[in-house]
């Protein structure tokens, strides 16, 4: 099809270069694919050798780095104490800081559910700084610099080889992740070139390995990407910027880095605390492309166990003061869709200003990925996707089934549950969104009871239909009243018109 005349309205050199004949583009793609196939075996061999080498060297480096950090922390503490002794006028806020603790304990705000208050403020701080037009930190050159253009900014995100994990603590939960590429076969038989996060145990599959720390635990993820600079953003987790995994607010990892954070523990009846819930992690470099290429994986934070909320055998709570669910039938469901054109692009496609069409996501393949969390078997080449899911029917003697919905897709999704007879099934109870429970919060400083724990049935958020979009998560309890096969229909909609562009079904076998 000829280019409409009006598309010349925007005149850039990029547009000219993007108008090569279709035939030529096809030939280029085929040639590129051939080159990539030939290089594939070599890359995989090299990657394996590198992984082996990395695995061996990693522990040595980590041990060394840890020793250095501890020594540095100790020096800093001593220096600071000496400075404070000399200088009676504080340079920063006079707010007290707790002494460093050698164990990964976590001090908590005042134990009352209400924020503590004190006398009328006396200090009158002054600060009149204006924002600077320049970056104060280094970029890939390691030097401060201006950004002259968007292309300059896009192609010069800060990269650091081996950034330091500041204030290192011994982890309760740690994982080592690499970035790899390989062709993966999806349930419909289609094969795509994917980039994936993989651990030593997981093999290269999609999505990345499931990570599952608990509230209060120090979490570590050692990341040594072998395919150019990457990051990991822990979507929904909220650590300091260095551990948030975004290039333009911290750094991209050129060699290796250990992310560190600590999921905030929940408190009974308090809507201001607690991280237990469903999250995901993804690369935040050239994000539209890297996430679509497959650089994402599920992250589930389990709650602390509170004395007033014991847990029965075989069960877990969705959050500290939340409902129990049946571990065996707990699932994670992630809608995902693929635009094959994107999977032919390179790591830094578009960053220098070339029009690579990343504003056009036109998927032709739609998938319901995920499955039972407790029985996921991560292995080389596996695409995790369910054919059907078991669900506990009300009264079968087990706790309800929990389904964790994670939207790994770029388009709006709408899902609907149907009874075995095809009528809409109001069996889904929404209990959490984006890692935070739905609660009643009308009572000032009173107990903010979770909707899912309320004695009044009208408080519970039941539905047969749910709308959700990119990166959202919902945790839902399923309450089928009778045995049989229910159907969950997942629709993908156009992000402009709202028209349906894809549809998949998943059988839910209630017994």
């Amino acid at each position: 099809m000829n280019t409409p005349f009006w598309e010349s309205n925007v005149t850039t050199e990029l547009r000219g270069t993007s108008q090569s004949p279709a035939v030529s583009e096809k030939a280029k793609r085929e040639a590129r694919a051939k080159r990539e196939r030939e290089a594939k075996a070599k890359r995989e061999r090299e990657a394996k050798v590198k992984r082996d080498r990395v695995a061996k060297a990693k522990r040595e480096r980590e041990a060394k780095a840890k020793r250095e950090r501890e020594a540095k922390d100790k020096r800093e503490r001593e220096d600071k104490r000496k400075r404070n002794d000399k200088d009676r006028k504080p340079r920063h806020s006079s707010t007290p800081r707790p002494s460093a603790s050698p164990t990964p304990t976590r001090s908590v705000p005042p134990s009352t559910s209400a924020p503590a208050t004190s006398s009328t403020p006396t200090a009158e701080p002054t600060r009149t700084t204006l924002p600077s037009s320049t970056r104060s930190s280094g970029d890939d050159d390691g030097q401060p610099r201006d950004y002259d253009s968007q292309a300059d900014f896009s192609s010069h995100q800060m990269q650091q080889g081996t950034p330091e994990t500041e204030h290192w603590q011994d982890p309760h939960y740690s994982v080592s992740l690499d970035v790899s590429n390989r062709d993966l076969r999806f349930p419909d038989g289609e094969e795509f070139r994917m980039w994936v996060f993989d651990s030593e145990e997981s093999g290269r599959g999609f999505p990345g390995p499931t990570l599952r720390p608990k509230e209060g635990e120090i979490f570590h993820a050692y990341v040594e990407p072998s395919m150019g600079p990457h990051t990991i953003h822990w979507h929904g987790m909220e650590p300091d910027p260095r551990n948030d995994g975004v290039g333009h607010t911290s750094f991209e990892i050129d060699d290796h880095y250990t992310y560190q954070w600590q999921a905030e523990p929940g408190r009974a009846g308090n809507p201001n605390y607690g991280a237990a819930g469903t999250y995901f992690y993804h690369c935040h470099v050239n994000t539209p492309l890297h996430a679509q290429m497959g650089l994402l994986g599920p992250l589930v934070v389990d709650p602390v166990v509170l004395a007033d909320f014991p847990v029965s055998a075989g069960n877990r709570r969705a959050f500290a003061d939340g409902p129990e669910y049946d571990i065996e039938t707990e699932s994670l469901i992630m809608p995902f869709s693929i635009d094959r054109r994107w999977h032919e692009l390179g790591h830094a496609a578009g960053l220098s200003g070339e029009d690579v069409g990343l504003n056009r996501f036109e998927p032709t393949h739609f998938y319901i990925t995920g499955g039972l969390l407790n029985s996921r078997r991560e292995r080389e080449g596996a695409v995790w996707a369910p054919s059907e899911l078991p669900v506990n029917v009300i009264g079968n003697g087990k706790a309800p089934t929990l389904m964790r919905l994670l939207d790994g897709n770029y388009l709006p999704n709408k899902l609907t549950f149907y009874h075995p007879d095809g009528s809409p099934a109001r069996i889904a109870e929404l209990i959490s969104h984006d890692g935070r429970p739905f609660r009643h919060s009308a009572s000032q400083y009173g107990v903010a009871i979770p909707t899912s724990m309320h004695e009044d049935p009208k408080a519970h958020l039941f539905t047969h239909m749910l709308s959700m979009g990119a990166a959202e998560r919902y945790d839902i309890l399923l309450h089928p009243e009778v045995s049989g096969t229910y159907i969950m229909v997942m629709n993908w909609n156009n992000w402009i018109t709202g028209a349906r562009v894809g549809r998949k079904e998943l059988r839910l076998v209630a017994s």
Binding site: T120, S149, Q150, H235, W261, A275, S441, A471
Partner: protein, 477 residues
Amino acid sequence: MSEKYPSPVERASVLQESSQEHLLNRAKVLKLGAATGFGVAVGLAARSAPAVASSSIRAPRAVPAAVEPIPGVLDLYINEGYTKMVDDSLVYQRGFGDRPSNLGDKNPSLRIVPKIFGRDGSVTESRSYPLDAVKPVAGTPLPAGPDPANPGQYFIRRNYWASYFPQRTIIAETGSKIRIRVFNRLAGTHELTFAQTGHGRVDLGTGPIAPGGEALLEFDAPYPGTYIYHDPTNAPVQRVMGLFGALVVLDPEDAWRVSPGQAGFERQWLWITHAICTTWTGIEAAGGTVDQDKYPAVPRYFMLNDRSGYEALGHSPDRANNLAAHEESLVSGYPRQIDIRDFGEDLTLGTIRAGQMVRLVNAGIAYHQIHFHGNHLWTVRRNNVEWPREFGKVDEDGHVALQQWEDVVELPPMDRKDCMIPMKRPPDATDKVWYARTEDWGYPMHCHAEMSQTAAGGLYPGGLVAHWELKAPLTEG
């Protein structure tokens, strides 16, 4: 002073010259633009249209010039012009401007400096509101002082700081009457409509205004909240063309709440999102009418308060732009201890335990997924309807109506949501890291419908982005 749009003859000569340069690059455009007084931009528009269509549609006509202002009446001029995108491309846009301007103007008036309709019948131009409140330097409210019981956190001033608003903003105090004269200076029929501002949430508007015509629109300020004004002609095409803005209605006697009895805040932010499809702008620039079935929208640029990418983030070489981005868009403040069960708490004289309110407005055409790093947001209202704090529901479209935490806020086209960013200590930072903090902590905000993170098909993160900052601990004295 505006530069004059060339006559059809002049355009023709530009067309002939430029027709040999099918692949004018951006640098050439800018050089030629400088040499010819922006004539090149005009030439591009002419070149993109058949000569016949161009001459007929762009034929000289009587257009309203600046008029004598009437006290208490806001004059809006429907203008056209070329706007620089974040990749330095020039894209044809229309807009409701403050003054008459022409297509070839270097600085066409396509969006207004914020205006305020007062209860006293006045119309005041001001980037900040309340008018007598203290303007925060670089947009960042300073705290009242440290909160001794919560180390590293601060008391927040109550009813103290003004908020900056972006261009396109109209503020109306409750009890005021909104009076607007609209002058259509374009070749096609246009209109001005304020969506859902009438009784029963009906739209109020001028109706169609013929080319060269004018209309007067008067209505009482509606219920406090956030509304979209736009040209509904061939919707959503004219919004993509730039004919949109936002109306914020506030109670002047309770100006630090989104509505009476609702969440109080330290300061507020108005984020207007917008997307531009250059196929559509090209058709309209050439005098055509977009057939949406034949040419589905493919947005190419994505904005927040009319900025994208590094310009939205305040990283451009333009210091004035960067400062304005900080004042209007880049949320910042000092950490505080809050409880979302009561944002209006006033336990210490002159302070409030509340965050900052972000009014999210989608005047564009894409389904956005507004994602904040660092803090979840507490959503209190959608489309000026308060969500309950208890006994919520799942509506008929599968959305939850209950005040809740979100780290991704759905924002379909024409939707508005009021969300509190608590500006609390990032909950998953370790104690050691938090208590050692000496620098600002900056976090990204971006749309997770990732196509919107691009500009011109690439250039990540060149689209709908922002960031927010927890400012570093203060030095006393």
